[in-house]
Symmetry: D2
Amino acid sequence: MKRARLRELGISTGRLPTGRWNAITDVAGVKVGQASLIHDVPSVVRTGVTAIWPAGDDIWTENVYAGSHSFNGNGEMTGLMWIADQGLIGAPICITNTYSVGLVRDAICALAVRDNAPQAFHLPVAAETYDGWLSDSASFPVTTELALAAMDAAASGPVAEGNTGGGTGMNCHEFKGGTGTASRVVSVDGASYTVGALVQANYGERALFRVDGVPVGREITTAEVPTPRDLPPDTGSIIVVIATDAPLLPVQCQRLARRATTGLAWVGGIGGNNSGDIFLAFSTGNRVNPKTPVSTVRTVAAETMTPLFEAAAEATEEAILNAVCMAETMVGQFGRTSRALPLDRLQEVMRKYGRLA
Amino acid sequence: MKRARLRELGISTGRLPTGRWNAITDVAGVKVGQASLIHDVPSVVRTGVTAIWPAGDDIWTENVYAGSHSFNGNGEMTGLMWIADQGLIGAPICITNTYSVGLVRDAICALAVRDNAPQAFHLPVAAETYDGWLSDSASFPVTTELALAAMDAAASGPVAEGNTGGGTGMNCHEFKGGTGTASRVVSVDGASYTVGALVQANYGERALFRVDGVPVGREITTAEVPTPRDLPPDTGSIIVVIATDAPLLPVQCQRLARRATTGLAWVGGIGGNNSGDIFLAFSTGNRVNPKTPVSTVRTVAAETMTPLFEAAAEATEEAILNAVCMAETMVGQFGRTSRALPLDRLQEVMRKYGRLA
Amino acid sequence: MKRARLRELGISTGRLPTGRWNAITDVAGVKVGQASLIHDVPSVVRTGVTAIWPAGDDIWTENVYAGSHSFNGNGEMTGLMWIADQGLIGAPICITNTYSVGLVRDAICALAVRDNAPQAFHLPVAAETYDGWLSDSASFPVTTELALAAMDAAASGPVAEGNTGGGTGMNCHEFKGGTGTASRVVSVDGASYTVGALVQANYGERALFRVDGVPVGREITTAEVPTPRDLPPDTGSIIVVIATDAPLLPVQCQRLARRATTGLAWVGGIGGNNSGDIFLAFSTGNRVNPKTPVSTVRTVAAETMTPLFEAAAEATEEAILNAVCMAETMVGQFGRTSRALPLDRLQEVMRKYGRLA
Amino acid sequence: MKRARLRELGISTGRLPTGRWNAITDVAGVKVGQASLIHDVPSVVRTGVTAIWPAGDDIWTENVYAGSHSFNGNGEMTGLMWIADQGLIGAPICITNTYSVGLVRDAICALAVRDNAPQAFHLPVAAETYDGWLSDSASFPVTTELALAAMDAAASGPVAEGNTGGGTGMNCHEFKGGTGTASRVVSVDGASYTVGALVQANYGERALFRVDGVPVGREITTAEVPTPRDLPPDTGSIIVVIATDAPLLPVQCQRLARRATTGLAWVGGIGGNNSGDIFLAFSTGNRVNPKTPVSTVRTVAAETMTPLFEAAAEATEEAILNAVCMAETMVGQFGRTSRALPLDRLQEVMRKYGRLA
């Protein structure tokens, strides 16, 4: 059965409507670019870079507010101390593998130099999850050029999911994992806001995997779809990037980022010890030039955060499920195989539990 | 149908075994005491105090390590700055209503004075959730004596749940809420550790309420069991206290506290804006006299945290469900009625979704 | 020699100009009220309450942004979890003694009830330092009425310093301490901003005490001006409240609060273990009704923070010195005496080090 | 006059005795290695890498506890989210320039691969300050080899200061800055503990520069020792690494790290907006294999932290002063010149203020 997104299978979660592409790019101005590296010689490599531009090319001078949350800190996301203090992002955001997160971080600086960015932002955000089970990550295969290619490829519209970009070599709940995205639209006080999530999903135990509350991981066991014997459980991590056009301040972005925890929990992620579960949220609803003596910005009422929280949780949940549904079975180094979630079986289980006609 | 705990209804969640009483008191040395205040004159009052002694009477000199997490900060828990720095609790912990949390906090100091505590701990932990919908909390009915009575009543063994102590006037997912508890036992590297949770549950929207993934709140709607018209959704808060006998350091307690978020999410809590979702975890596995020049303490391996995390999430989830299952319908001020979750209907819904024979 | 503020002695620190009253009340709209309790029967009491209204009576509906920092968490300041999340203060701020901080916190709720505040703010800020050396604080002498009296007494203009309000029973660098205040004015990009600080100073070791870098505490030793034998060194705490009219966001207030550390260091405070060194900063430059669906607020450029930081550090430093210079020698329980810094000797030492003509 | 350390000039600060080398290497087991890159073609480069090994080669399996503090977050230090959660460092720590911090971070992973480290630690600590004023940092001159060379060069004993390693191209208080170190020894409860600091100092305004409270920066003005016209004030950052052999837990390390703020304040650093003032503290007093099921560790009494705090503040202060005193005048790109603090003038000023015979 051809890979498909969750909703294409007739399954949905949550109660809020999606945006047009059900992707982070539904937030106006957000672009995503990816570059993947899949080769078997000289070493077996399954890796890549995913880049998110929060506000198109304007980002260098029109920074956006952001906030982060570390649910389990066994991972890396650079740039967070300045975001904690100043709350602004002024460069694209990249996700890659653990051993290359530094190189990719510097590559964002190199992009600013290459493109003669009007205001260099020296503290970019690069995050990672570990792909060293399928990929020879110790060969340090990611290059500055690959990172630049990912950033240069950024576009609006649908986002390639599954074995793409930084998500290429991931596993999730002992199935093949990867890159996924989803979005939600909420209406508050007459305004309509979009919340999108993009995940690099590389975490989790089979038995805990749930779809809309249905214990799919207890039905499609490792006896049926084997976990490779030597894949340590919960060995990975999940990076979640949340975007919204609701006008938020940095402290509000911090709160939004924390709700990725809720969506993650709904799928069965508990932030296991070996998992770097690190979340970033940004708002395109204000664009701020940090050099302007006094900027005027907007902020939603405190109570508007509740529907945005629900949207963030739902978008995160469905982004993870999209990653797993879209990822194809992949063979990596040492003949290791990470198997895709069988979609027909998923439908069957959902039917058994009364969630699919 | 008589109120009952979740498991007495034939329903269970999670995969880990419970402790003897399925209560926070399963962690050896932990005692719970409660005092409730329910009267209709001179004003209608539905409130109380719940007290948790982490290490019996030894607590003044044998402090225990602790850590906290604020998932949504619309609430109060005192004493957290010193816990962030020093990681030690040296007094009982109390939970009460919003308008009395200060008085109860001072009452813990007063207890130390009254009992001539060998080492006064000046920064006690008192937390709150809001009961001003059922109770005339603006009459400030809680007294120092009530707080002392709760602390004096502490005992091991089963814990009274539902409309008890600080949980007396609570609502949860638009049903009657209150005090609940549960526990789990995990085995790691040949050692057996208990994790218990006690919650004061006063949060949440009906439609999001789930039991083991089953969308109970979409089945037992407000058309069937009415929400009082003027109860604002998600108006409340949840306090979660997690105890374990696993020997943890303060940073490990912080991580454990964060997992209450996961259990809360499983029941349908998203940390709505008006909710003070504040979590505290402590470990009785080390007892430390802060005056000892150099203390020797123990700490589990990083990877041992994963089963403890799952236990904390499961115990939190079931503690909330126990609070809701045990709480009786309550009539409060202005004739307002908070209705109990109908347990027969809960069983019916669980049957419909294939979770109950 | 009559007590005097630092500048009245011909001594000044820092390079920025002060506001009109060299007080936190130089920030337009900020009012301070105090109530002191000094009596010898039935028990010897030297305590009180200091109240700061950030934005006059409008505060209930016109909240101001705020942020906090805990340099050493051996103290209590309530309300900080909501300030971390939401960044808004919607009630007066109070400071008192350790054993009464809860009561005073609840009294702020009681004020909202008494005055039928248009929007009750349930998570007020109350902070404390310990006065149990001079005062019988275990007699719990502070009452709700005293707290209300302090809040009701709020006024603009000069602020009574030394043995006043919550600062009544304090010690500082082993001299008599108490309440102090100071302010600074900075000009940035054609705008003029005021930064004011109010401290309750109750910390520090004699030998570390400095005035404008001069080691005054090494010159006026405990041989000359005795420390009472049984006053444990560094037993106290310091609360610093910083106000500014510069339009700041919550994250910017957090940064400003952190600079109290710098001013404290300049006087010789190192955040000793027993000290609760907790700082709060708020900005009156935005007034926000948290119920407004979308508010428009202003924020200064990142680089504008630098002069504000310097102003906050200088105002904190001078506020501490004003507290010490204005506090009179006080005799407390058990005949204990806390001696005032001798001002003529201070001038003499400053002359010796070339800082006073 | 030949460059010299502060004490070689007859000047000292603080009241605690130093260790043998007055360096971070006085903490047993701590080693420092540096590699510098100074060339004029093809581009003008003044940069390098400084490496600190917390526990010799054992670090991969005998991790040490650590904690961090961001006083002003305009900088980067990787690895801090895991340190916040787990509190362990399991690799060398490196400091370099802003544009290369990612590469150097990955190089620590590469070292683990190269040396077949028994337990790879995937989340190393690399920090940065900006040297793009003297050095063509946009040419990205630092290589993996240079970083490995710095790590390989680690040794005990005296540490080269001034224009060395990552500190090569730094400015400090508008003089030439760089790498500096110092240490202190404290006795508590019969035990003797050493606290050492190493700084990469690249921050600060001339007018605020102080030595032992003496306003040296107001005496040796930019009229006398020019600041290059186009060096923006406070454009840099300061990284402080504090080591101690006192047995501390992670939360205690966090508290110790925060005291770098105090030492920095004493020299005149206020954490200006453009400065990344990020501090790391680690304790060699416990060595922990994170795989051991239950480890036994030691922790000092809370009150022991006070002398350690003072030691950390003093060591940080003197490390900065050593960096400035040891750094030689340097000419960089575009003929820009960063001038050394004239040591004879420093002595003269200290004499004028009565601090030097």
